[in-house]
Symmetry: C2
Subunit: 385 residues, 2 copies
């Protein structure tokens, strides 16, 4: 098996791109990533996307985007794993390069959620859950997360306001990220007063749906020096799955797939959680932040919110999270999110994170979650010396 | 790179399964394939599917099906490339095993097209084409193929009836396949009189939409002997892409991606087309049969229909095609088709094709086509000695 390195990154601003089509968004991110790597070609393109068929009336994104960026002919497919589609595509790209089947691989995550040409967005997002036993009964995706949050509050005796620091931190960091959708800070008081979405989840617990695309270029580490002096190695790529339906899990408050994929990733990389300089986690809702921190070894069960209250998750804290705004403030173009997370870790490790730069960051982790924890991919990245 | 072998196959009958859900169909095929391999576990599951979101109101098939078959926790994603989704998933499975990242991999293709819970089926199938420039203008998928067929007839001076032997052959072979949707023969006269769908394509030029699932189990060839004495080696796995929109191609009657992927496959396997004992091609419409035979080296341009007229494509012919009924008679559950093709080649190479058995078959090819030729995966299989 070959060691794999990221030699190029690209992203579009996250937001409502009414004047850009899905292929244009993907094309911008892919072209930027290729340019960043100083390349004009690649051997394969894997596209992470969840809802192009349902919302944008387009499947077959692999061939479509490959052709659009001038790479007609190369191997190209779409990979889907709900909100984890981006990192699932990255995982396929990693497998292809690590295994020696491809040399230069582009991985792109893209989602176009405005311009709805099919199922409405809430109904489309419910397809991340169990269609027969959750969505068919009217359980939207935010409602699933609301059940989790209510149970967490009950089980651990915490109140809704205890989750405020997660959103406050994300918004504070979004200010410094030119690609973020929300570039303004929020207060804990604003969080307390935000409009209810699905009790107890309010507007400021929730990440916004959006349009966006992000991409990386991978190659074998042994070849990386030919292309860049900003190489970032993939130290670990690990995944695990769980039941899609919440009611099928023994303990809904334990993200088993996040735990398993993080554990495998730490083993692969030969590190402990405390060795990490930052952690881009999947803050689709504030409850997922607490559960991810706990499953990934940063807090005991029920203690995720305490970590935030003690300031440990800020840029100056022990384990900075959502350093470029996270899903909450950067935005959550569903199938693209996994690639945005990785691009942001690469920015930090290269020292290109601008006002949000974590001094001397050399080791970072990204964790992309599909559904309410049914598919999780954890990636550990390290600045090449 | 490791040599890869198919050690298990499974399939459901193709048809209208009103009483079975998508996960049940997939579960049946996966369980059958695992049982055939004498296995109860696997390291990963890659699911080929095109329309689960649009039609069956379910994304996130990887985790969903892995859990349903008792393999909660393993790596699992959906792979999509329109009608080539099945073989695209196979290609990912091949990459994972050949590269050494996974040992035992299940690849499943599944499509549930009855019970429409979203976009109607014709609109959904149009997502295989270019959404902005074909589907948005009302060009359905059958209409795209009708344009191709009309142009072929004009360019090469053949008439509609010249395509009859393709359908007659497929239906004849469907009779002997217990998993086929249409198990009755048709005559050339019936072909001539069939109801028009999109001029010049009539009902008997067209494969039927359907429900179904098929699966294979892969492992490194070096380990195959532990599991089966019916091993079938993957001698080549090759892919290529083209523009999604027909109007973007220099020569719409030349399936460039089929040509490229077949050429690469022949090179990998070190064989010539005439060495093959059978060829499971993508006869979604009769025009695609002619174009596939020409692009894959079995006939000169414009001569594909002659091959059929001369009886070369029957079970007794020089290059038998659609030996278990093809898309036309076995049925075309879109995202499952690529796996059905491979399962059927394996049946032939194992000597398990019943009344349709090609005596002494040792080398077969499957070619799965997405859209009107935008994604093509060609797989060459050989009976292990």
């Amino acid at each position: 098996m070959r060691d794999v390195t990221i030699i190029g990154i690209g992203q579009t601003p996250v937001g409502e791109h009414w004047h850009k089509s899905l292929r244009q968004l993907a094309g911008e991110a892919v072209s930027a990533a290729l340019q960043d790597a100083g390349l004009e070609r690649a051997d394969a393109l894997y596209v992470g996307n969840m809802l192009s068929g349902e919302i944008a009336a387009q499947e077959h994104l692999g061939a479509l985007i490959a052709d659009f960026v001038g790479l007609r002919g190369i191997e190209a497919y779409k990979v889907e794993a709900a909100c984890c589609s981006g990192a699932a595509a990255l995982r396929i790209g990693y497998i292809a390069v690590a295994g020696g089947l491809q040399d230069i691989v582009i991985v792109c995550g893209v989602e176009k959620m405005t311009d709805v040409l099919g199922r409405d967005t809430t109904a489309a997002l419910a397809l991340a859950g169990d269609g027969d036993y959750e969505a068919a009964l009217g359980l939207s995706f935010v409602a699933i997360n609301a059940l989790l949050m209510r149970r967490y509050m009950h089980e651990y005796g915490v109140c809704h306001q205890d989750f405020a620091p997660f959103s406050v931190n994300a918004h504070r960091n979004g200010v410094g990220n030119p690609y973020a959708m929300f570039r303004w800070p929020i207060t804990a008081q604003a969080f307390a007063q935000a409009r209810m979405i699905a009790d107890p989840i309010n507007l400021l617990d929730s990440s916004p749906i959006a349009d966006g695309a992000a991409a990386v270029v991978l190659c074998p580490t042994a070849q990386a020096g030919e292309f860049t002096n900003h190489a970032v190695r993939i130290r670990a790529s690990a995944t695990a799955t769980d039941s899609v339906a919440l009611h099928d899990r023994r303990d809904p408050l334990f993200l088993s797939a996040a735990y398993q994929s993080a554990r495998k990733a730490y083993q692969q990389a030969g590190i402990r959680p405390q060795d990490l300089d930052l952690f881009e986690l999947h803050d689709a809702f504030t409850i997922m932040v607490a559960l991810s921190l706990e499953a990934s070894g940063f807090a005991e069960r029920g203690q995720g919110v305490r970590l935030a209250q003690e300031g440990e998750i800020t840029l100056e804290g022990r384990i900075p999270i959502c350093t470029m705004g996270g899903l909450k403030a950067r935005g959550h173009p569903v199938g693209a999110t996994g690639l945005y997370q990785v691009v942001e870790v690469v920015q930090q490790l290269r020292g290109q994170a601008g006002p949000n730069q974590i001094e001397g960051a050399s080791l970072g982790m990204a964790q992309n979650i599909g559904g309410s924890g049914a598919t999780v991919v954890t990636t550990i990245l390290e600045r090449a010396e």
